[in-house]
Amino acid sequence: MMNFDEKMDAIDLIINVLREHEKSLDELVSRLEELLSKAPAGRGAEAERPTIRALVREWKEFRERCSGAGIASFEVEDKKFRVSALKGGVLHIYEEMIPDMEIRFREREDRIVIDEVELRGREMIPAALRGRLNCGLEISVKGEEIKMPDGVSLYRMVYDLEAEKARNWLANQLKMDPKNIIHGRIQA
């Protein structure tokens, strides 16, 4: 039969072998953690490098797809408000025209008669009247009146957006830190 000393010595060896295994595993875990701690910048960039661009028509869909995105940007170019957000390797883009309205009118006694209202597209009517883009972002309105020679006046309504307001609105809509929203453009 096996005596007590033999059993104890065998158990001792087993324990020591297990302890060495644990030490090896600890070393491997430390090396892995070290590698991962050095990786984030490169890894993030790699993981978030867009492979495709998606033009999203509806703001609701854009907001759902890009909620919690790593980085986003906004800009106004050629009277177009453009938002880009990078999520899941896809650069999502939403675009919407900023309205631009001209009203031609003439004065008749104590009233004015509107001859013509000009807008660049019918989809811009709600935005122009509400002072808010279809996505929901508030836009500021400035008006200027130009006197024409034939007694007709031209009232031009110029819509614009404030960068900081847009940034905070986007941060709220996309559930992002405003610091990660760039006033400019991110490109694929």
């Binding site: 033999e6 065998a10 001792d12």
Partner: protein, 104 residues
């Protein structure tokens, strides 16, 4: 071609202990006998010495006065070999009994 099964650390330790007990006591001989490379063997020998399963002996060669290291098994090392040899024997016997019962 058949692939040899990867030995567990415990099996490697026991192989080395048995080699030393059988008289294979010089590091290079143990390395060949246990089919290990130099670095892992050195780590295992160090561990076995720390666990007092083997003892390291430095002997001076009479002819060229060089110091050679060899290893001897300790009482604790003997106990471990005996325990696992008997355990293996019990498992083998149990397997034989089981196969006899299945063939009845």
């Amino acid at each position: 071609m058949t692939m040899a099964r990867r030995r567990s650390k415990l099996e490697i330790y026991l192989d080395i202990l048995m080699l030393i007990r059988s008289g294979v006591n010089k590091p290079t001989r143990i390395m060949y006998g246990a089919n290990l490379s130099w670095k892992p063997l050195q780590q295992i020998l160090k561990s076995l010495v720390e666990q007092e399963l083997i003892r390291e002996v430095d002997a001076r060669d009479r002819r060229d006065r060089r110091t050679t290291t060899y290893y001897v098994i300790t009482r604790k090392g003997e106990n471990v070999i005996n325990y696992f040899s008997r355990a293996r024997e019990l498992i083998r016997m149990d397997g034989m009994v089981n196969s006899l019962i299945l063939h009845e």
